[in-house]
């Protein structure tokens, strides 16, 4: 598995306040990692620092060996894509137009999407089962459909590293599982590197290859559910969640409060 994203001693925060300190992390091709932690542990700060929305105080971020720490937005967007917790309203924008916004980093400033790209955008919607919505107003979709459209836009952007900040936060139980399943499948099939923040450790255990536990702005532990025993998982997760129990169901694990 070759290396896609590498963070070296990343420290970031807002103004003078450091929220995450000295983060070292490597994510490989086709690997989906979850960033777990309680509120205020620095999950969102770390994600925003990687995608350049807040400046890094020190440290470096490399994608496929290329330094992406201090580059302008246009260049970074070719290497790193981002799905925010809450997306724009996009009232009066059709689903197909919303997806085509993803081509922006690959187009010249004044260039319009090519006929090929327009066709590909349609195919992306088809792949996610959204082709019937192509001509509809984005603002009129359900939350689950909207998040799927944003995922299609991210696929159009086609960056090797995908960052996601609680993309499931507005979704119901079924949509939540559906979108995470899609994200997992895409990252494995297209050999991208994914880093996703989640609130629910059970979703992380169910869908992610590796769990990265963040506590007080530093990495408190890492865990690969497929290779760990039940006891190892319990011990690791209890570092942030306290007194917990882990149950097994057909090779999958779930966490409960004790």
């Amino acid at each position: 598995m070759s290396e896609m994203l590498r963070l070296e001693a990343v420290t970031a925060g807002y103004g003078r306040k450091e929220i995450v300190r000295n983060i070292h992390l490597v994510i490989g091709e086709g690997e989906l990692c979850a960033l777990l932690g309680l509120n205020g542990s620095g999950k969102t700060t770390l994600i925003k620092a990687i995608c350049g929305l807040i400046p890094m105080e020190s440290g470096r971020c490399l994608v496929k060996g290329q330094d992406c720490t201090r580059v302008h937005e246009r260049k970074r967007a070719r290497f790193i894509s981002y799905i925010p917790q809450r997306h724009s309203k996009m009232q009066g924008v059709t689903v197909l137009d919303a997806v085509q916004m993803g081509y922006n980093p690959h187009l010249a400033l004044l260039e319009s999407p090519t006929a090929l790209q327009r066709r590909q955008a349609g195919e992306l919607l088809e792949r996610l089962g959204l082709d019937a919505l192509a001509g509809q107003d984005f603002a009129h979709l359900s939350e689950g459909q909207k998040q799927m459209v944003i995922l299609a836009r991210t696929l159009a952007q086609d960056a090797p590293v995908m960052l996601m900040d609680e993309p499931d936060s507005a979704l119901d139980f079924l949509n939540r599982n559906q979108i995470l399943g899609r994200i997992r499948e895409l990252i494995h099939r297209e050999n991208k590197a994914g880093l996703i923040t989640l609130h629910d450790p059970n979703l992380a255990l169910g869908y992610c290859d590796r769990l990265i536990l963040l506590k007080g702005g530093t990495i408190a532990g890492q865990l690969e559910p497929a290779r760990a025993t039940k006891e190892e998982i319990r011990r690791c997760l209890s570092k942030i969640y306290g007194d917990i129990a882990v149950l097994e169901h057909r090779g999958k694990y779930v966490m409960l409060m004790e």
Binding site: L53, R78, H87, G92, V93, T94, M101, L107, S112, R153
Partner: protein, 333 residues
């Protein structure tokens, strides 16, 4: 939801309305011309010299100006409502109109009422105030849309205070009246020469916005999203604001302030198309042109003296805005 065919029909219908308003506008006024007479003039037939002169030196430049002003205000208004993510953003949101007003007032007080000089000074004033807003935003180090709006508020207030100062010291008989009249807007002073002078600025502004249309749509997203989609937000926003300021300044430096068109035309376009795409910006400019052509016809025909254009655009605009508020309540755009 509108089909492509319906949308094309809508564009044809609105363009036809604009063409009709254009034709009416070249006919009506103190010296009415009939369409037959205009046809004779255009084909170079025999006609009284006075009619030919009215057509070429008064009617045609003025009608073109109404068309250009409507297109410019409608387009800039639609673009501003997208990039400021605010349906109440008007083209003067970052101070171009107040700057132009100040420039005009300075010229009137210092150099008397020379219309060419006033126009030049108004253009410089409008551009200068927007540049100051941009410099102010740069200085704060937080180039978000909110900072632009705050910067606009600050410089609008400063320009307003300077205008009051000038009015206070102005000669009430001639200068004060001229300043007031300028701020109500009129197309009465437009000549073919002035029109040709502002045309290059107008076209640069308009073409710039048309070319940047994809970036305008991306600026309409939340800032985090547009940045991670590869938009160099700081740079692109200043460029788009620059083009739209050029467009607006080139119009209002000749016409004076024209209220409501830049605010209303984009709403009309969105109500019709149910879209905020660039097609809606184009429809907004056609709607703006229609409103201004109609308003200008009324301005020079309902009374023996010319009525300031802002009075008419406001009376036309307000019912539209009320209709818009009602349709918003009903959950449409």
């Amino acid at each position: 939801m509108m089909s492509d065919r319906r949308r094309k029909q809508t564009f044809c219908a609105v363009s036809a309305l604009v063409a009709a308003a254009f034709a009416v506008s070249v006919c009506v006024g103190k010296y009415p011309l009939s369409l037959m007479e205009i046809w004779t003039i255009l084909t170079g037939g025999e006609i009284a010299e006075i009619k030919r002169s009215v057509f070429y030196t008064l009617r045609l430049p003025r009608t073109w100006m109404a068309l250009l002003a409507g297109v410019g205000l409608g387009m800039a208004g639609a673009v501003y409502q997208i990039i400021f993510k605010n349906p109440l953003a008007a083209p003067d949101i970052i101070g171009v109109a107040n700057g132009a007003n100040l420039g005009a007032a300075v010229a009137i007080v210092l150099f008397g009422y020379n219309t060419l000089f006033t126009a030049a000074s108004a253009f410089v004033g409008g551009m200068l105030v927007v540049m100051l807003v941009i410099a102010l935003v740069r200085a704060t180090g937080n180039p978000s849309t909110t900072t632009y709006i705050l910067g606009g508020i600050i410089l609008k207030a400063v320009s307003e205070a300077c205008i009051m100062l000038l009015k206070f010291f102005a000669d009430p008989e001639r200068q004060l009246a001229a300043i007031e009249y300028w701020s109500m807007g009129s197309l009465g002073n437009v000549t073919a020469f002035k029109l040709l002078v502002i045309l290059p600025f107008f076209l640069v502004g308009l073409t710039g916005l048309v070319l940047m249309r994809r970036q305008v749509a991306l600026l309409g997203l939340e800032e985090e999203e547009s940045r991670t989609l590869g938009v160099r937000v700081g740079l692109i926003r200043v460029t788009v604001l620059g083009f739209s300021t050029l467009l607006i300044a080139s119009v209002i430096c000749l016409t004076g302030l024209i209220s409501f068109v830049g605010l209303i035309a984009p709403h009309i376009a969105r109500l019709i198309l149910k879209r905020t795409s660039f097609a809606a910006c184009i429809l907004a400019s056609l709607a703006g042109a229609f409103i201004l052509l109609v308003a200008d016809c009324l301005a020079r025909s309902i009374h023996s003296a010319e009525i300031p254009i802002s009075i008419l655009t406001t009376f036309i605009g307000v019912p539209c805005l009320i209709y818009f508020m009602r349709s918003r309540k009903a959950g449409r755009i």
